[in-house]
Symmetry: C2
Subunit: 375 residues, 2 copies
DNA sequence: TACAAATGCGGTACCGTTACCACATTAGAA
DNA sequence: TTCTAATGTGGTAACGGTACCGCATTTGTA
């Protein structure tokens, strides 16, 4: 029979293969990266005189490793300056120790503060952070999700408000954990972190009333953002029982400085006698400050202005801006901690976290019988 | 001979293996991710009736593929919604389409603007961006480099100033491309992007002179930052030939608001008659504005203030801040483009890029015979 | 007509890990 | 003493691609 010959060849080949493989592993480092060796788990195993399995078990603390063997391996790792390749780990275990942060725009003060917190926490847990600017466009967000999926990202933080139901469903199906800031596509399968926007708005109005305001206007943000909506609701609830209230005291803005300025101009036209402005966020409040300043209206003295968010910039305006401060850093820290817990399966249940806001009184609301000391 | 039996068994085993392997590939998707299939290149190959090699060649446009086969593959990819796994690609090809951005602090206005530009460009070229905050600490930076190495990052942008010679050398040896903002560890193996700091400083002083200042102080930043150093040099060169010049007009700051305030206080103590302040960056200039404001000194009118950087915040101070604007976005865009070119081997040579700065005149320097129109 | 080059495609080792299984040894319990 | 369980270790398929090599055709050229 012919196959006997064939089979003999097969045997030879396999022997040769094994030999050649060994030889290759022995000398490969000489030919790589310009002679500079990057050691692998095999190198460690070889040096320590054990198998790769044992080294792997040692590295991951999975399974039994004798304490002497452990020492030998430790020595070998030291000697070779070995560090496990994360890409290979990712491929083998579908875990990359990387999380993504999708936000509208990193150059926005609020989100850069947030990003800082997220990265800080992630780094302490051994995760790296990828970020992406969505510009609040669903398409861009989708694109990021697509890319991230292909990269075996461990989880995603959405600080963007465009996450759709379908995307959320897909992520859940794929088993990619995600958490949301402010708003989630559903109360299921995603923890949400936000601050008490309505309560904050009520606090703001109350404060303005306390410092003696008797006609308080509100500039609200884009209503597709839940934060803007809730702040508006808080304002309405607080003022609609008061006798001076009129719906014309409400004016839309775009959450940016320019929008705040324009809105203020329009408000002053309609109601030259307003003595308080509660802006939906700090940037619009800054816009209000600018608009008032241009008109020569003394802020604080004649018209009090209160913002919302507590971004750093509120400290550098003249006068300094009173604001309802969200615990931005804490929110970022909390949300990333939640995500990591979820990734590691330590999160019992997804839920909504509402963080307290804090009134920070500054000069922009120093007025008559103020709660403040002096300018 | 016994081996004949042995060999026969081997053959059986290999046949069984092959069969089982095939079976496994055929039905694996049923058991994965809750029944939801993630398709691989093998699935595509199977559906298209070709080998994985062919699909791979098609995907990477490497090697020959018949146009009919191409259509079949395209159809299969569509049908299966196949997208190549980047992690596997990374492992096989040591290319991950990911770049890292190491900066001192993302919540710093300058760097968040920069990050935005970097991410924009990276995204258009198909790269994702990882970021890390070094807080200007060499240890942290080292830690990031270590992590990134293990993740097969394609290249690194250092906007941090702590990159050491040894790190640079290591990166070069490892073949990891990197580029630097402002300062590189050497003129070799790294392109550097910065703006014309000295020229900008000279422009600032000239402008202050133009608006009638006769005693201009300078608040400089940390001298380990080359930008701060160059601006100081520019200032000194411009003023040392003038009769009113004295070294006591120079005061250190820390590139932050608080430092600018303190420096201004000290300067005014020593020289109550200064009528111009050139701050080493915008944040310190804002500090100066605040300090002057607290003392009741009218900015612009009595003392003109000029900053450096051109961060967005300069538009919201009162008065708005005159500044030497760096093209922050352009710098970020350029540096990431350079890095990507370098990664793709399209960069002919590493060199230093010095970008032009621009004087932006605003109210903080509107003074006597100003070059400006009106307030 | 013959031979080289271009085209098209498949097989499979390899990237650097992990996870599972098999096996050997030792310790503890019945 | 015997059997089970705990401990310790190695072999190797798989993760999902890429790249090299080799083999067949087809095409072009002398």
């Amino acid at each position: 029979m012919r196959y006997r010959y064939h089979i003999r060849i097969m045997l030879y080949i396999s022997v040769i293969k094994a030999y050649y493989k060994d030889l290759w592993y022995r000398y490969r480092n000489l030919f790589r990266r310009g002679g500079r060796a990057i050691s692998t788990i095999r190198d460690v195993a070889k040096l320590a005189g054990v198998s790769v399995s044992t080294v792997s078990r040692y590295l991951n603390k999975s399974g039994y490793v004798n304490s002497e063997t452990e020492q030998t391996i430790k020595y070998a790792i030291d000697k070779l300056k070995y560090a496990p390749n994360q890409v290979a780990r990712g491929l083998a275990g579908k875990k990359t120790n990387t999380i993504a942060l999708i936000l509208p725009d990193i150059s926005n003060l609020f989100f850069s503060d947030l990003a800082r917190a997220v990265e800080d926490v992630a780094a302490t847990y051994g995760y790296t952070v990828i970020f992406g600017n969505s510009d609040d466009q669903a398409v861009k967000e989708k694109r990021y999700i697509e890319t991230l999926k292909q990269k075996y990202i461990d989880g995603i933080i959405f600080a963007s408000n465009t996450l759709g139901h379908d995307d959320a469903e897909m992520l859940t199906k794929l088993g990619i954990p995600f958490v949301c800031l402010d708003r989630g596509p559903s109360e299921e399968n995603s923890s949400i972190v936000r601050s008490k926007n309505k309560e904050g708005a009520i606090m703001a109005v109350q404060h303005l009333l306390d410092v003696g305001c008797r006609k308080i206007a509100h500039i609200y943000g884009p209503q597709h953002l839940i934060t803007a909506k809730e702040r508006l609701i808080g304002y309405e609830q607080s003022v609609q029982i008061l006798d001076w209230y009129s719906p014309t005291l409400i004016e839309p803005g775009d959450f940016r400085i320019a929008g705040g300025m324009k809105a203020t101009d329009r408000l002053l036209e309609r109601h030259p006698d307003i003595d308080g402005i509660f802006a939906g966020n700090d940037l619009m409040a800054i816009g209000a400050l600018k608009a008032l300043h241009r008109k020569g209206i003394p802020v604080g003295r004649q018209v009090a202005v209160c913002g919302f968010d507590g971004i750093q910039t509120t400290e550098i305006t003249v006068p300094e801006l009173t604001t309802i401060a969200q615990p931005i850093y804490d929110m970022g820290a909390l949300i990333s901690r939640l995500l990591i817990k979820k990734i590691e399966g330590k999160l019992e249940e997804d839920r909504l976290y509402e963080l307290d806001v804090k009134l920070i009184v500054r000069d922009s609301t120093f007025r008559r019988q103020g709660t403040n000391e002096q300018a």
